[in-house]
Symmetry: C2
Subunit: 293 residues, 2 copies
């Protein structure tokens, strides 16, 4: 089995790395905070002091980092991971970052004789723990097939979407639909509530028709229960919509509802609700309207 390096052991990365260990892969890990490193080492992984040290000793290098600047720093910048790859290594960035940096990583990898995939996921920490993530992949068919056994340990719904960056574009599209649909459900249920109609009855009436979606079912129920424990945090969804808007801006495409929802997520962050579940978008509407009407 190929030796895997894993950089980024956060809410998502930690359970993913554990699943790879359980599947029998030799694992070299690195993370800024040491708690997760100790847990992985106890489970059988080797620790490395920095990204370059990981890069030097693995066949496959996986990164699962919070944001575009982190991937930039670890792979291309001061972390120098790509510079230290052995030829033939495959880099798989599973972070949700800009399509632009995915293309830069692929190009930098090619220069040192390595290969790269962008492979962002959806499905949250529960999907990471249970190995049921959806994985959207950009890169060559050869690299995809080499990575497929690893992807099958981590996820269920695995799609090669296109060339380098295409995985990130698909993830951005996913986050656009999820975010805007949450806002649609928030507007619909608040409209009912403020008009004196039980939103739970409206939710039930709508689930059988064209308005049906996983978001109406799950996030609609969270709104009815006034339960906004994450789930997926508003500030992370704001980040993901910013990635989508930047990718759209680069090609001269306006995304009016995506832009609106990004700003509403900013209102949540501004009201110190950035750690609330993205279904908390409904709170903004409730705060904007008069409860006495």
């Amino acid at each position: 089995m190929e030796t895997i390096g894993f950089i980024g052991l956060g809410i998502m990365g930690r359970p993913m790395a554990l699943n790879l260990l359980k599947a029998g892969y030799p694992l070299v890990v690195h993370n800024r905070s040491q708690g997760a490193v100790k847990e992985l080492v106890n489970a059988g992984a080797t620790a490395a002091d920095n990204p370059a040290a990981v890069a030097k000793q693995v066949d496959i290098l996986i990164t699962m980092l919070p944001d575009t600047p982190d991937v930039d720093q670890v792979l291309l910048g001061s972390g120098q991971a790509i510079k230290n790859l052995r030829p033939g290594t495959l880099v798989i960035d599973m972070s949700t970052v800009s399509p632009a940096i995915a293309r830069r990583v692929a190009s930098a990898a090619r220069e040192v004789g390595a290969d790269a995939l962008d492979a962002p996921v959806s499905g949250g920490d529960v999907g990471a723990q249970e190995g049921t993530l959806s994985i959207m992949v950009g890169g060559s068919k050869e690299a995809f097939e080499r990575a497929l056994p690893i992807f099958k340990v981590l996820g269920k719904n695995i799609t090669l979407v296109g060339e380098a960056g295409a995985g990130q574009v698909a993830k951005a599209a996913n986050q656009v639909i999820v975010g805007v649909t949450i806002q649609a459900v928030a507007e619909a249920l608040t409209l009912a509530k403020r008009n004196g109609v039980d939103p739970a009855m409206v939710h039930q009436a709508l689930m059988g028709g064209f308005a049906q979606s996983k978001i109406l079912e799950i996030h609609g129920q969270r709104m009815l229960d006034n339960n906004h424990k994450p789930g997926f945090k508003s500030r992370l969804h704001r980040k993901d919509l910013s990635i989508a808007l930047e990718a759209a801006r680069e090609v001269g495409l306006p995304l009016p509802c995506t832009g609106m929802v990004r700003e509403l997520f900013s209102a949540l962050v501004g009201q110190e609700q950035g750690d609330a579940d993205h279904s908390a978008l409904v709170k903004i509407l409730e705060n904007l309207s008069s409860p006495n009407n």
Copy 2:
């Protein structure tokens, strides 16, 4: 069996009336244009010259009209249908109109000793033909139970949502979710296309995850096929979002994405695409952005 009056034999009303005839109900019909009247009379219905003449001879009066002013005119205004009801008659308005007029109709019906339900539908002309409409009902439990055998001829997913007007509020909420979700899918697929990624691959990758919805499946496919035959016409969806925005305005509630999508439907109508399917929202985005980027 109770005698049913049916006013409004358009794309929706004509097949609904035919289904009631087939189920054995004695039917008295009225419509402005006479083609549909002749068809119904040939199938066994009786024709009446005006709304008042229908009202005088039926136990249940169903209206299926294009817009709020039509319902106002036929039931409350010069049509004088409600004034001519016999006590004990049940009025069922199945048009999609404002919650406010549903409440006025219910109140006018009470004054002449009649009862009323607002019972707008979703499911389109196919649902009307096949008797599989979703029906969202506002009014009393007694009136709902009296109407239920009729609703079961016309539809499948039948919900008593609340008091008078609640059916229209639920329908408005439905149209908010459907319209805004179509725009979400349009933004996501156009983002992919303009970034050089095959939108059909993105559509496929997203169908298994949280972005899944009937709209992504069906309207997303129409966008990929560049097929905008209705379906449901953009100008009618614009009307329905205007009803939602008016109901929101009355209670001091802003609906930012609904407002945005209503304006985008106005752009479609302005570009003489008002008769195109609501999935044609994607054309506005394509027209707004440069195809060469």
